[in-house]
C-alpha cells in the first residue's frame, strides 16, 4: 500500500486495515510539514496554499488560500479556527474515515492552517452521530499536545494553538457555518445573515477560519510535497484528489480517493465494480440529499469543479449514490423532502412552506392520486424554494426535485390520475 510511486499520486492514501498511530505517522514524514511551516512567514504558507489551488471540500468550493488570507488580514484581538466535522450530508462518510484512520494528518493540517491564519484557538465541531471518531480525535489531540505539536509554543516556536472538541446534537443545519457558530455559542443552530462572513466576524465576533475536515487534511501534503506536486494531480481546472463516498446499488461500496478528472462512469464501474449482478443503473444521485439525480447517459461527465458547474452537477461533499432499476425515483425524492422538512429551521417561508407542500404533493403522487395541476404546483414550489430560501438548505433542497422533473418526468406522469387533458401542463 505504501510504495512511494503510489504515495505520490495520493493525498490521503488510505489503508483501511490500518489505524495509524503517531509513531508510524512520524516515520512516514508526518509533522515535517508543520515543522517547516512554522519556520516560514505566514504569508509564504498562504502563498503555497494559493498556488496549490486547493478549494473547500465542504460543498461551496471556495479557494482555501483566499480564505486563509482573509482571516490573516482581518482585524481582531483574537482569531479562531473551526474544523467542520459535522458531516451531515446523507451518503457521505469521508470525514469519518479521516478521523478514524488518519487523525494526525487532519490535526497537522488544522495547526498549519491556524498558523497561517493567525488563529490561536479553535474548535473541532464533530457531529453527535460520531461517538467513536470523537473519542479517537480526543485521544489524538492529547497525544499531539504531549508531543509538542499542539498547545503552547508548538515545537518551540512562538505559535500556540488551543484546540477543543465540540459535539453537535443532531442537527444537519449546524453544518452550515453560521448555524454552526450559533450552535457553539449555545443557541439554536439557525443560519445568520451574511455578510459579515465568519472570516471577518465569526466565533464571538472574532475573525474565524472555517474549513471542512477533508480540506484541512490536504494541507500537510501541499506543504510537504509542494504546490507543484499538488497541481500535477487532477486537471488544469481542479487540482488534487477528491474523496468519494460511494453507496447504493454497486458491487463495491466504499470510500475512494480519485483524482479530479475521473468520470462518474469510472467511479461507478471501475472503482465501484458496476451495478450488482443482473441489474442496471437507473439513476445516480451526486452530492448527497442536497445533490442532483442524473441518468446513466450523463455519467461520462468528469469530476471537475468547472465541468460539473456547466453540467449542473453538484459535487458537494462527494457522495455518489447509485440506484438500480428496482428503485422508484419518487420514493427517493420523497425521502429527501422528508429529510429536509425535518431539518429545516422554519425561519423562512419558501423553505418551510415549500417543503411542507412538496411533502403533501409527493404523497399524492405516490398514492397515484395526483393531477397535472399538482405537478405544476410541485415545480413551482421547487423553483421558489431554490430561488428565495434564506440559506443553502432550502436552496439545495430543490436539486433532486428539479432534476427528477427533468430526467424522470414519466415517473410523475405515470402516477397522475388520468382524467385531465395533457394540454394543462403546457
Amino acid at each position: 500500500m505504501n510504495n512511494s510511486a503510489q504515495n505520490d499520486k495520493y493525498v490521503f492514501n488510505f489503508n483501511f486495515d490500518e489505524y495509524l498511530d503517531i509513531e508510524t505517522y512520524k516515520q512516514r514524514g508526518g509533522f515535517s510539514a508543520l515543522e517547516s511551516a512554522l519556520k516560514e512567514e505566514q504569508d509564504n504558507v498562504i502563498k503555497k496554499i494559493k498556488q496549490s489551488g486547493l478549494k473547500g471540500r465542504g460543498g461551496a468550493a471556495f479557494p482555501s488560500g483566499i480564505k486563509l488570507e482573509m482571516v490573516n488580514r482581518a482585524e481582531g484581538a483574537e482569531k479562531y479556527i473551526i474544523c467542520n466535522a459535522d458531516e451531515g450530508e446523507p451518503g457521505t462518510f469521508k470525514d469519518r474515515f479521516i478521523m478514524t484512520h488518519i487523525p494526525y494528518q487532519l490535526l497537522e493540517g488544522i495547526t498549519i492552517a491556524a498558523y497561517a491564519a493567525g488563529a490561536e484557538k479553535g474548535f473541532l465541531y464533530i457531529r453527535h452521530e460520531y461517538p467513536k471518531p470523537r473519542k479517537r480525535m480526543e485521544q489524538a489531540i492529547k497525544e499531539l499536545e504531549e508531543a509538542g505539536y499542539l498547545g503552547k509554543n508548538i515545537l518551540g516556536s512562538n505559535f500556540s494553538l488551543e484546540l477543543q472538541i465540540f459535539s453537535g446534537a443532531g442537527s444537519y443545519l449546524c453544518g452550515e457555518e453560521t448555524a454552526l457558530l450559533a450552535s457553539i455559542e449555545g443557541k439554536k443552530g439557525r443560519p445568520q445573515i451574511k455578510p459579515p462572513f465568519p472570516t471577518q466576524s465569526g466565533y464571538k465576533g472574532f475573525p474565524t477560519l472555517i474549513h471542512n475536515v477533508e480540506t484541512l487534511t490536504n494541507i500537510p501534503k501541499i506543504i510537504e510535497k509542494g504546490p507543484e506536486w499538488y497541481t500535477s494531480l487532477g486537471t488544469d481546472d481542479s487540482h488534487g484528489t477528491k474523496l468519494i463516498s460511494l453507496s447504493g446499488d454497486v458491487k463495491n461500496r466504499g470510500l475512494y480517493e480519485v483524482p479530479f478528472g475521473t468520470s462518474f462512469h469510472e467511479i461507478i464501474y471501475e472503482y465501484g465494480g458496476g451495478p450488482l449482478e443482473g441489474h442496471t443503473v437507473k439513476a445516480v444521485n451526486i452530492g448527497g440529499a442536497s445533490g442532483v439525480l442524473v441518468p446513466p447517459d450523463r455519467l461520462h461527465v468528469s469530476l471537475e469543479y468547472g465541468t460539473c458547474a456547466e453540467e449542473e452537477i453538484t459535487i458537494g461533499s462527494g457522495a455518489v449514490f447509485v440506484l438500480d432499476e428496482r428503485r422508484d425515483i419518487l420514493d427517493n425524492v420523497h425521502n429527501r423532502v422528508r429529510f429536509f422538512l425535518h431539518e429545516s429551521c422554519g425561519k423562512c417561508t419558501p423553505c418551510r412552506e415549500g417543503l411542507r407542500q412538496a411533502n403533501i404533493l409527493l404523497e399524492r403522487f405516490r398514492n397515484a392520486e395526483a393531477s397535472y395541476n399538482d405537478l405544476e404546483k410541485l415545480e413551482r414550489y421547487t423553483r421558489v424554494m431554490q430561488d428565495a430560501s434564506f440559506c443553502g438548505l432550502g436552496q439545495a433542497a430543490g436539486n433532486s426535485l428539479k432534476t427528477s422533473f427533468h430526467y424522470y418526468r414519466d415517473e410523475y406522469i405515470s402516477k397522475i390520475r388520468n382524467e385531465e387533458p395533457a394540454e394543462v401542463i403546457a
Binding site: E89, A169, G170, G186, R253, C345
Partner: protein
C-alpha cells in the same frame, strides 16, 4: 457581531448533552433544565429553546439503550423498513416509543456515515451495518442478555 454573548454560552450545549448522558433515562427533566439555567446564569426559556432545537436532546424519558435506525435514502433503498419492522415486532415498540421495561427506545436517525454498509443502525455508541432482519434480532438479544446478566 455586536450582540453580547455570554462567555458561559459556549458550555450550554455540552452541559445539556452531559446532563442527558448522566440521566439513567437519557433525557433532561424539568429539574435538570432549572439547574442548568441556574448554573450557567441563563433564563429557563433560553435553555428550553436551545434544548428543544436539537434532535439528540430529549425532554421526555427514554430507555437505557437507544436504537437509532437510519432513515436516509441509501439505507431506505437497502431495506431499512424491514429492519425497523423486525425491531418493532421483537420489542413491541414503534419509532419514538420505549419498551415497558425501559430497556429500549426506538428512534429514527439521519445518515450515520455508514452507507457503505447500509442498512445501518446505531445502538448507543455502537454502529451496526449490512443488517438483515434476522441479524438485527440477534443483536437486540445480546443487549437483552447483557441486561439479564447484570
Amino acid at each position: 457581531m455586536t450582540s453580547k454573548i455570554n462567555v458561559q454560552d459556549k458550555s450550554l450545549l455540552p452541559t445539556l448533552l452531559k446532563k442527558q448522558k448522566d440521566s439513567p433515562f437519557n433525557f433532561l427533566s424539568e429539574d435538570d433544565v432549572n439547574s442548568i439555567a441556574k448554573e450557567l446564569k441563563l433564563s429557563r426559556s433560553r435553555v428550553y429553546s436551545t434544548a428543544s432545537f436539537y434532535s439528540e436532546i430529549s425532554l421526555s424519558p427514554r430507555g437505557k439503550h437507544i436504537i437509532r435506525v437510519c432513515c436516509n435514502a441509501p439505507c431506505e433503498n437497502a431495506g431499512k423498513e424491514a429492519i425497523r419492522e423486525a425491531i418493532t415486532k421483537e420489542l413491541g415498540i414503534e419509532i419514538d416509543e420505549t419498551t415497558e421495561d425501559k430497556l429500549f427506545t426506538l428512534e429514527s436517525v439521519n445518515c450515520l456515515g455508514a452507507c457503505f454498509m447500509s442498512p445501518a443502525m446505531r445502538i448507543d455508541d455502537e454502529i451496526y451495518g449490512n443488517l438483515t432482519p434476522e441479524e438485527t434480532v440477534k443483536i437486540l438479544n445480546t443487549y437483552k442478555k447483557e441486561h439479564v446478566d447484570e
